[in-house]
Symmetry: C2
Subunit: 420 residues, 2 copies
């Protein structure tokens, strides 16, 4: 029974990464996209700034640019009187500079004139006549202004390779005059559900038939990775039919996933298809993971295509897609290094047994209404139900992981919840 | 000085919500989309199942369907022998039923024949001849199978109004035969940056000029909400020019945001424009929020358009977009009720002062490498820098919030970090 030679999750990922790197598919292709279309894309190289940002000393308040030394000793009852030397216009370089005893009006965002090193807020100033300003507060150097290069200095790294672009990054790139950014091209993926009992969602199942749950769920997970969906199909669980479909999908895709058809049933053809169609053969014949044991992995060098057989049970299929397909994408793009896996600290609301010898993933809901009194943390309430029940995953907020050697989690035990 | 009559964040949102509801823009429009294109969309009504899922008792293992009572007392040295009554074919309803003393082969996902109430895994069974099976383990009723309706029963709610659709929801909807779902139509939004010092990102700024940071950042935030971008423009800080642009944008959009031009500088025209172009007039003239005080809000009934003046400082602009625009979207779609604001418990790495009388938002990085020893939580390291520096927001993982009456946070104090 081949399925007993299972890999750990980590060794399966290592094997797949090695096969892809050695087979020429180590780093996804790259492309330039406009910054305005880069949200959620993954930077494929470091981006450095060619300029100082801002390019000049800039006021952060409406007020009067001053020489801070002049304001020493100023106070509510004893203002410093300064000569108004001019007014800075927005977006223009002032044509004057300040010397001791002088000040100049500057609006928020305006250029602080040469000589000045601080800005007194209008609220702390009072004009006397047309050409004198009383300043009622002492200022330290740099107050109410940012200096040239304070935001970003020339040559500084704006974005690291592997960074998933956020709105603020789009702002930062724009600030530096970047209108395009080099990102990884999304993988092309083909999604196949197999099983003679499976009918497409739009079909009313006959007794003994069920609708295809996995295709839509996996498509959602693939879209969340940014992948390009090249096809979505229910294929009969017959080796020749499945092989034809997988072969043609491999020729145009980076990844083909097949869900179902990888347990030990008499008709399951997925393992044989992956084994025969990939140059590596199937190198992972099952995972020490619960749920998700019947996971099959191979890589084909000529087509540079990974073929992944996911379990048929929907929860297992979606979870393993994340762990294997999204997992290897994150490794190869560098996303795994730049992005912390955000987890929420919580406390188990009840006991949960681990599955001996397997890394166990338990779906949980986070209960913020019944905070654990001792720790102040939310409770993690196990969402129970077999992995064939998609409802459980839809109802869960995340999952907790028990390691191969763990016996389980006790009620009240502190856990980290990975978010779905 | 109008800016001193500031609203709290909550009262500003309440005012805007009331104005929009009373002005006929309370609930966004709705549309049907295919389930396969529904990722991230927000359900605009509850979705109920019209069927039991699965529609029949279903095996979760390759094995033998049995009557559990027959296996009582079975063990490794003392198997129960059962007559093999037939084999269930995938996707078909078996034409036989079981009576006491009988069993039938059933593959994973196959229909459990009438009469049977459990499935013995193949691993615990041994064929004897062609028509007898030895079962080496006792089974309880329901073992290794799911019953009709176990996943979802007819009439049960699959999706709640206000739910943001996840991959598993797409699977769940497919399981129930739903191929379309009614969701909220994205708002149409127009993004304007104003300020005479602002040039578009592709232009090399002259001394005194800076590139437009806010448009790209706000566009990113708007895309993250799923909004449709109708325009993006830098407009001069002159009331007549700005008013023309805002008026035409209002006629085709649900929301117009203008960043910059809302402090007290001499040329700032945003407040006057919002005041004059909305039927409500500007009803919020500033927020007791730091950063983000110069935020102006109005709503126009005839065009059903909200006009929001955001601060010019990029960090403040992006933060206030989230708090006000995304905030009101979440309220009106019901997302605010269905989705917990996920926050990460952490411990402050250093002291931070609050701004008296204002709700203070402090950007932080999460440090998982220097876990707080007493609590086991990550540290929240303040990302310091004025709100004019977009770099600080790009570098942060999230923010902590100090309430109006808080004096600040002490090093070592427990905090909740809202993720960016």
């Amino acid at each position: 029974m081949k399925l007993l030679k299972v890999d750990t999750l980590e060794s399966a990922l290592d094997k797949l990464e090695t096969a892809m790197r050695e087979g020429g598919a180590g780093e996804p292709e790259r492309e330039y996209v406009p910054v305005l279309q880069s949200l959620g894309r993954i930077a494929s190289e470091d981006v450095l700034s060619c300029e100082d940002i801002p390019g000049f000393d800039r006021s952060t308040m409406d007020g009067y640019a001053v020489i801070s030394r002049d304001t020493q000793g100023a106070g509510e009852t004893m203002p410093t009187f300064l000569e108004l030397a001019g007014e800075v216009k927005m977006g223009e370089k002032p044509e004057f500079s300040l010397t001791s005893g002088q000040c100049a009006y500057v609006p928020t965002g305006g250029m602080v004139p040469e000589g000045a090193d601080a800005v007194a807020m209008v609220e702390y100033c009072q004009p006397f006549g047309d050409d004198r300003i009383a300043v009622y507060s002492p200022l330290s150097s740099g107050h109410n202004m940012v200096r040239a290069g304070d935001d970003v200095s020339r040559g500084e790294k704006l974005i690291s390779r592997g960074r998933r672009i956020r709105p603020s990054d789009m702002g930062l790139l724009s600030a530096a005059g970047k209108t395009e950014i080099k990102v990884y091209k999304p993988w092309k993926i083909y999604i196949i559900s197999t099983g003679d009992e499976i009918v497409p969602p739009e079909v009313m199942p006959l007794p003994g038939q069920v609708r295809d749950v996995n295709s839509a769920g996996i498509l959602g997970e693939a879209l969340a990775c940014g992948f390009e969906i090249r096809g979505l199909e229910v294929v009969r669980d017959r080796q020749d039919v499945l092989a034809d479909k997988v072969r043609s999908a491999m020729s145009e895709c980076d990844v083909v996933v097949i869900s179902g058809g990888s347990s030990q049933g008499k008709k399951d053809a997925t393992e044989a298809v992956i084994d025969s169609l990939t140059s590596s053969g199937a190198f992972t014949h099952g995972l020490a993971v619960k749920p998700g044991k019947p996971t099959i992995i191979g890589f084909d060098e000529p087509t540079e295509c990974a073929v992944i057989g996911l379990p048929g049970h929907p929860v297992a299929a979606l979870l393993l897609f994340r762990l294997i397909v999204a997992g290897i994408w994150k490794r190869l793009t560098g996303l795994a290094e730049t992005e912390k896996e955000i987890s929420v600290d919580a406390v188990m609301a009840s006991n949960i047994a681990a599955s001996p010898g397997r890394k166990t993933f338990q779906l949980v809901k986070l209960d913020y209404e019944h905070i654990d009194l001792k720790t102040g943390l939310p409770q993690a309430v196990p969402v129970l139900g077999k992995s064939g029940l998609i409802r459980t995953m839809s109802a869960a907020d995340g999952y907790v992981v028990m390691d191969v050697n763990d016996e389980g989690l006790r009620s009240g035990e502190r856990v980290k919840v990975c978010l779905l």
